[in-house]
Structures are given as C-alpha cells and as structure tokens.
C-alpha cells in the first residue's frame, strides 16, 4: 500500500530534525552509547520496526481502546483543537487515534488483516509515514484526556497517543525538543540540565533571602537532612526560572514548624517520560525520587506544584519502574491545606484582594484526582475567588500540556487553538489565574500574552505566601 494513501496529513507537517541526535551520537553521550536514549537510524527499516514494537508493547488496556471505537465522533467537541478548528476534520481525537488504530487493525486485529480496506486498516511503509504520524501524535494533541472522559465507549485516546509516542521515541522519530529534553533528563537526572552546583547555590541563595525577609537566622532550606517528616521534590524550572517558589515553600514549612528536606540527588519530580511515552525514562526518573526518600529515611514525599510531575511521581512512576509504593505521597497543595486546617499557618485574605480564578491542571485533576484541595486553600487565602467554566475534570488544557511547550514547531497551531482557553479565561473577569502546575504557568502565560488578556498567572504557593501577615 502506497504511503500516499496515508490519511495522516495533519494540520502540521514538519520534517524530521535530527541535528541534536547526530550531535549526541558524535559526542558519544552515555545515554546514547548505553542505548537508553534512542536515536534515528536512517538505514533501519523503521516502518517494520514500528509495527514489531506495536505488537510487542500492546497491552490489554490499549488493545481494548483500539478495538472498541465505534467512530461516533462524540469526542470531537471535547477537544480544544477541534473546537478551535471545527472545519478541520483531522482535529478530532478519533481521527488522531485512528492513525494508530489503522495500523493496529492491519497487524493485530482480525478483520483488518483479512480485508484491510473494509475497516481502513493501513500500514506505514516508510519513514515519511512515521514522520507524519509523529506530527499527529506529538503536534496535535496535548494528551489532556478530556476526550477520554467524554467517550461513551470508554476509549482512552490519550493512552493511545502516549503509546504511539513511545513507539516513535524508540525509533528516534520525535520532535527535536522531545529528544533534547529527554537527553538532558537522561544525562543529568533533571530535564533542564541544572548542574548540581547551580542547584545547591540557588537553594543557598533562597535560604539567605528568607533569613533576611523573616529576620530569622534559623530559617533553613535543608538538603539531604535524614529522618525528616517529608522529602520535598521540585521542578527544575523552579531552580532555573522561579526560585521564589522554593523560598515560598520553605517559608511556609518553616512557619508551620515542619521537618523537611530537599534531596541532593533525585530532586526532579518532573518526568519527560510521560510526554515522550518512554516508560524506561519515566521509571528511571521516578525511581531517583523514590530512592532519595528511602536513602534519607523520609516518612513521606511531598511534590511541589507541577501537574505532570505529580501524575508521574504519584501515579505512573511506580508502574513504569516496576516497584511497589512504600511511602505516602502528596501534592504540596494538600500539605498547605492541612496547615490551614490545623491552624499551623495564619493567612489574611485581604492580602489577596484581586479576583482570582483557578485553572485545574489536566494531569492533576483528570488524571490525578485532585480538584477540591486547591479550592479549599484558595477560598481561605483569597478575598475574591471565582470559578472558571468549565472547571475541575472538565477544564480545558492550558494548551501547553503533553510536552508541547518543548516543541517549537507546533507552537503556531498550539496558540491558534488556545483561543478556547483564552475565551474561558477572559469570561472569568479575574486578574489572576492560579494553577498548581509549572507547565501550566508557562502555557497560560503564552495564552495571556498571545490573546492580550489582562491577567497574570500565579501559583497556590504564591498566594498562600502572600497571604501570610508579616
């Protein structure tokens, strides 16, 4: 079957960029040499390898989701891509999933193996076909899972998309940004390649700032302190671009009389394996965190405000790593809620007088089960809290989910479909949009800037810290 018959003509078509991959091979990076980070091999029969991988990695959950779709199209209007581009039929979740489903039907399912034309079964024949599939699964879906919760058949389209991403990652047929971030996380243990010295210096800097702010030389930002109540793990973005969020957390922990520590190693709870579909990377990164907690004999793990980090560390990481959970774990927002309930910190609503709305991160709400805890906190610390509509598990993605912020080639489409999010934000009339996800902070900031909205993005820690009387 000719590759021209592929329907995978996505709204975005980008060539496969392999410059970074070539460089990584030339430099003989450890992760590449050891085969952990996969690179593109032009001479390999990648289409055949893709099919073999698809058969090998197929799970019962994915097979059921691939077999069950009845093409009813109910998912279409749950997707912000389709809502923003209703005249483009390639924007529906079902069409995107069908690009994988057709290969499944041709090689795994029954009818498609015998009479492929009857069920649109199809097979990729060359790297061009796989590259088009790359554009579909990486470029036109933020894996927000909104369609999954709206499917009458219970088809988990986001699971299918991640599965296909994982197969392409294994072949090195990925957007350059995906390769780069995966490389950084494999090589340095954190996805922003923060050096150990920078990490420790930033923590020291925050500690000094806090001591000055509170006029208390005993305030600490502890690292590798054993036997604490909890291990606090963060997003490298906090070190690189937003160290104040660490200071905010440290200040609140101090005022609450908490026993806590950051780890010297295994501090990055973000996980690009979730986005690239690479379970081995996902398992390795998550295991670093679990091992840090074990090494320091922490009683539990508290995860900083990060959507995909929370989902990866709390829910997916153990399964990817193949280890059983041993320690309790929670989002820092749950910790903050407890402090407020127990009266361990006092807040003054008047300090947050601007109207605030809350954006539920997809990975935390739809895939993580946390919807009420941040609201309880915000109602305690904000004078004017207002819901956006829809909200909780029905909220729209910030548009930067699924790793899309690292894929520059898909930015124009991402911002175009962000119109749905912009309208949703604008309708609240809020001046601040609060989220408990660093990825959403960047995604929302892009939306606000592009659509010229009169609002700023903040996080729960910011508002709680600001609400604490001096």
């Amino acid at each position: 079957m000719s590759s021209k018959k592929s329907e995978a003509r996505a709204a975005v078509m980008t060539p496969l960029a392999t410059k970074s991959q070539e460089k990584a091979k030339e430099e003989k990076l450890g992760s590449v040499a050891e085969g952990r980070l996969k690179t593109y091999e032009r001479k390999a029969n990648n289409a055949k390898r893709f099919v073999a991988l698809l058969r090998k990695r197929m799970t019962r959950q994915i097979a059921a989701s691939l077999a069950a779709c009845v093409h009813c199209g109910r998912c279409a209007e749950s997707c912000h891509y389709y809502l923003a581009r209703p005249d483009d039929p390639t924007m529906t979740p079902v069409w995107k999933a069908d690009q994988v489903r057709r290969i499944f039907k041709r090689h795994v399912d029954w009818t498609g193996r015998v009479i492929p034309w009857w069920v649109h079964a199809w097979t990729p024949v060359d790297d061009e076909d796989l590259n088009r599939l790359k554009d579909v699964v990486f470029g036109t879906c933020s894996a927000c899972r909104r369609c999954t919760l709206n499917c009458p058949m219970g088809v988990d389209t986001a699971l299918i998309i991640r599965f296909a991403r994982g197969l392409l990652t294994e072949l090195g047929i990925v957007p350059e940004g995906v390769f780069n971030v995966s490389r950084d996380q494999w090589e340095t243990g954190n996805q922003m390649a923060v050096a150990e010295v920078d990490y420790l210096e930033t923590l020291q800097w925050m500690k000094e700032e806090l001591q000055a702010e509170l006029g208390d030389p005993t305030v600490d930002v502890p690292v590798d302190k054993p036997d604490c109540d909890f291990l606090y793990v963060i997003n490298p973005r906090e070190i690189k671009f937003d160290p104040r969020s660490i200071a905010n957390a440290a200040k609140i922990f101090h005022l609450a009389g908490e026993s806590w520590t950051l780890p010297g190693k295994g501090w990055d709870m973000t996980n690009f394996g979730l986005y690239s579909g690479d379970d081995s990377l996902g398992g390795w990164v998550a295991k670093n965190v679990y091992e840090a907690a074990s090494r320091l004999r922490a009683k539990r793990i508290v995860i900083s405000e990060c959507g995909h980090g929370y989902r990866s560390t709390r829910w997916e990481g153990y399964n990817w790593a193949g280890v059983d959970q041993r320690l309790p774990m929670e989002s820092v927002v749950v910790t903050l809620g407890r402090y407020l309930t127990e009266g361990r910190i006092k807040v003054n609503k008047a300090k947050n007088s601007e109207p605030v709305t809350f954006h539920d991160s997809c990975n935390i709400a739809r895939s993580g089960g946390i919807t009420e805890e941040p609201r309880r906190v915000l109602r305690r610390v904000c004078a004017d809290f207002r819901e956006m509509a829809p909200n909780r598990t029905e909220n729209y993605c910030c548009t930067g989910g699924g790793g899309l912020l690292s894929m520059a080639e898909y930015r124009p489409l991402r911002l175009e479909v962000a119109r749905i999010k912009a309208e949703q934000l604008r309708a609240t009339g809020a001046k601040l949009v609060c989220t408990m996800c660093h990825n959403c902070v960047d995604g929302l900031a892009d939306v606000i800037k592009h659509y010229k909205l009169d609002m700023k993005v903040v996080q729960v820690l910011d508002l709680v810290s600001r609400g604490i009387p001096r």
Binding site: A63, H71, P89, W118
Partner: protein, 224 residues
C-alpha cells in the same frame, strides 16, 4: 410457515448463535492474551466505585459533558439502542414465545421502539455522510453496519406482528438478517458491546484508584 422460514427461525439461528458465542469466546481469549499493567500505587479512592461509575455513566447524561451538552444526540443513542434491544428480543420471542405477540399492545410497543430506531438509524447515516469530520473517519464497515441495522429495523418493524400469512417475506428477511448479523457482528464494529465492559472496567479501575471516579465534589483527601 414455509420450510425456509422455519429453518431460519430455528436451526439456522441456533447455529449462528453458537458461532457468535464461539467467536466471542475466542475474541476474549485474544484480548486477554495481551499483558495487563499491574497497579503498584496506594489508592486514593475505591476501584470498585470507579468501575461501577464508569460502567454506568452511560445512563447518567448529566455526568458526561458530551451527553449533557447534546441531549438530542444522547436521546438518539437511547432510542437506537432500545430499538436494538427490542429487535433482538423479537428474534427470540417469535420462535420461542409467539403468544407474547398475540397481545396487540405489545406488538405496537415493539413497533414503536423499532420504528423509532429505524428513523434514528437513517439520521445517523445522514450525519455520517454529511459531517466532514465523521465522514473522514467512517469506514466501509461503519456504513455497512448502519445500513444493515436500518434494514434490520425495517424488517423487524414488519415482522413483530408475527403474521405468517400476510408478512412471511418480512419475517424471512428479519430472520435471514438476524442469522447474517450473528455471523458478521463479531468481525464488525457492531460487536462493540463486547468491549464496552472491558474499556469501562479498565478506565474505571484506574480512575477509581486515583479518586477521579466517581466524579464528586467537596471530598477531603489526604496524601497516601
């Protein structure tokens, strides 16, 4: 009753049913040969509640945005599937409990259900042809399945009075289609109901475990 109709109503239907059951059995073996992910995390919710919610939220249009916002489409879904249930029931009532259709009210009830489903089937076919997004994803199997269902409803509508003298042709068509369906369904999208319990079980188990399902508001949750 002609020998052909008698054979279709009895022997052919039994063979076809056995065939369908056997293929469904094989299909389940096929599905369960794929590995399943082991859940290794502490639970935040109840898996059983999540599974129950996921399986039943098809009957809770208010709980699912795609149904809540398009109640008309949801109603079509209900009518269509009630018609399917009535038509399938008729394939058993006619040969094995024909006295049921001696009650005219029952016949009329079945005709209303099947007739309404017939019109919904036509609407669905029209939608599939008209909407570019649906047309793009539609396969020959999608069209054939829908056309066959429409024909099945038409034949069923005429067959339920179970009047051999006046509508033997309709009865013959109805049972011929039934036999064909029983052979064809496991290989087509019409067999989706076989997967429904599994997709919803898997999704409900994951979402229940994480405390996402059942979707409710205001609950307190501590870290685990």
């Amino acid at each position: 009753m002609s020998p052909l109709l008698k054979t279709l109503e009895n022997e052919v239907q039994i063979v076809a049913l056995l065939f369908m059951a056997a293929v469904y059995g094989l299909r389940l073996v096929w599905l369960f040969r794929f590995k399943s992910r082991k859940e290794r995390t502490f639970s935040e919710g109840k898996e059983a509640a999540g599974i129950g919610y996921s399986l039943l939220n098809i009957a809770m249009p208010w709980a699912v945005e795609s149904a809540r916002k398009k109640l008309g489409f949801y109603l079509q879904f209900v009518i269509f599937h009630l018609g399917v249930a009535a038509a399938i029931a008729a394939t058993f009532i006619i040969p094995y409990a024909p006295r049921v259709f001696e009650v005219m009210a029952v016949v009329r009830l079945f005709q209303v259900m099947i007739g309404a489903a017939f019109f919904v089937g036509l609407m669905r076919l029209f939608r599939r042809l008209k909407e570019p997004a649906i047309r793009l994803i539609s396969t020959a199997d999608d069209y054939a399945s829908l056309v066959l269902m429409v024909l099945f409803f038409a034949a069923g509508f005429l067959a339920v009075p179970n009047a051999y003298r006046s509508s033997e042709a309709a009865l013959t068509a109805f049972f011929a289609l039934t036999a064909f369906f029983l052979f064809y369904v496991p290989f087509s999208k019409i067999g989706h109901y076989l997967y429904y319990p599994f997709t919803h079980f898997f999704l409900g188990r994951t979402m229940g475990h994480r405390g996402v399902y059942p979707i409710k508001r205001g609950e307190k949750r501590e870290g685990r």
